[in-house]
């Protein structure tokens, strides 16, 4: 049976992990490779690296970092952040990334999704959506949640899947950082109506929250950052907890 996936997310700036404190087992908690390898050893099913560097040097730094990650990490990983062209993606995949995620650039020019799927296959194209619930529905936000659009998250997800997106990474801005649980309604709506996997993101605070998003919302994967980085929840304990409650989990 296909398992539910647990995915730690690492924010990267200038080649370093932004949030990474308090790990006894690694020498340098700011080193994305060490942190990524530690999560892989603990049983993480995949990793997501989100580059938030804004400088012109970022492209070269990022591809070098991706190569170093691919050398040391023996599980699949996704790279996202500021990717806007076939050439960007080609460089990252050639460097050893398994998937890439696109967000604002794909919304502004949806043909990008078609181009990436045609060139590299749907399996490596992850569409990331930041969404906020207001006025009775979930709307797409761009530029890291700073710019509102009038498009509903479900409609954009459906269109992108039609264009060839192979997976949806859905972040609820209402839930992100609250530790009150994932957005079960919109995650469930996407997961139960689209024929691609949905990764739920935003709001994880307890192990039960993961149980809820897998069981109630039928998410295929759940992503979290700070609760793993600050060791509020440790991956082996989380996987054991979910397994004991009947979910298919990899050990």
């Amino acid at each position: 049976m296909l398992t539910k996936r647990i995915i730690p997310c690492l924010d990267i700036k200038d080649g370093r992990t932004v949030k990474g404190v308090n790990f006894e087992n690694i020498r340098d908690a700011g080193d994305p490779i060490e942190l990524g390898a530690l999560y892989a050893a603990q049983g993480a099913d995949e990793l997501v690296f989100l580059d938030i560097t804004a400088t012109n040097e970022r492209r070269k730094t990022l591809s070098e970092l991706v190569t170093r990650i691919a050398k040391h990490v023996n599980i699949p990983f996704t790279v996202g952040g500021g990717i806007s062209s076939v050439e960007d993606v080609n460089v990252l995949l050639q460097s050893g990334a398994d998937k890439i995620s696109v967000n604002t650039s794909a919304f502004k020019r949806p043909e990008l999704v078609d181009e990436l799927a045609r060139e590299f296959g749907s399996q490596c194209v992850v569409l990331a959506i930041d969404t906020r619930f207001e006025d009775g529905d979930w709307y797409v936000y761009l530029n890291g949640g700073r710019v509102k659009t009038e498009v509903k998250a479900y409609d954009w997800a459906k269109e992108a899947v039609g264009r060839g997106a192979g997976e949806i990474l859905l972040t609820s801005m209402n839930n992100d950082g609250t530790k009150q649980g994932f957005a079960l309604d919109i995650t469930g709506k996407l997961s139960q109506n689209l024929n691609v996997p949905v990764i739920a993101s935003g709001g994880a605070g307890t192990m039960d929250h993961f149980m809820d998003v897998f069981e109630t919302a039928q998410a295929d994967a759940a992503l979290a950052a700070s609760i793993f980085h600050y060791k509020e929840i440790e991956i082996p304990a989380l996987k054991t907890y979910l397994y004991q409650r009947g979910l298919n989990i990899r050990f």
Binding site: L2, K71, G96
Partner: protein
């Protein structure tokens, strides 16, 4: 010992190289027929589309070369599917090493099946030296929309709506649908076993 990775228009070659590197083996990526023939081990990887991959191989006569190899050959993902007889992906005639049909996953009428299958799934019925010291039900990382049907060559089975071949073997030809290079410690063990054949 020399390990070559066949170079063609398919992805994930870099990941295979890195996985070999983690095992202390330097792989050589090449489409040079003499170099491939002279290697001790040949890896035939691939993420991509079947018909364009077959066309590329045929144009360079790599199709005949691969079927005639005598040393251990390991097909991975699309590489495995191309070693079968025929694929439903754009109705493609493949290399025919395994007399096996490659089909597309189909959603059952009452259930939405997510295609491609992306993620970790378990392998059972392990019956091959590739799987020495790899426990039954080990989880491997799969990314695919097409699958090789069960056959007399099946040496590992996985279920995604139906049971299908997670691995095939015939004589010196080995093949896995999953990505051992991305499947953590157990995947690494399979690559290590293959390199020791």
């Amino acid at each position: 010992m020399k390990t070559v990775i066949i170079k063609y228009n398919a992805g994930n070659i870099r990941s295979v190289l890195f996985a070999l590197d983690r095992l202390g083996v330097e792989g050589v990526v090449t489409d040079n027929p003499e170099e491939i023939k002279a290697a001790d081990k040949v890896i035939f990887p691939g993420v991509g589309e079947a018909s364009s991959a077959m066309r590329y191989l045929q144009e360079r006569k790599l199709d005949q070369l691969i079927t005639g190899l005598k040393q251990p050959v390991l097909g991975i993902c699309l590489g495995m599917q191309l070693m079968c007889k025929h694929s439903e992906e754009n109705d493609t005639n493949c290399l025919g090493i395994f007399d096996v049909e490659v089909k597309r996953f189909q959603s059952p009428v009452d259930n939405l099946l997510k295609i491609p299958q992306i993620g970790w799934n378990n392998i059972t019925g392990l019956y091959c030296t590739m799987f020495e010291h790899v426990p039954e039900n080990s989880y491997m990382y799969f990314v695919h929309s097409y699958y090789a049907a069960l056959s007399p060559y099946t040496v590992a089975t996985t279920n995604y709506v139906i049971n299908y071949s997670a691995a095939l073997q015939k004589d010196n030809f080995y093949a896995v649908q999953f990505h051992p290079e991305k499947s953590a410690g157990e995947g690494q063990k399979i690559l290590e076993n293959f390199l020791k054949l």
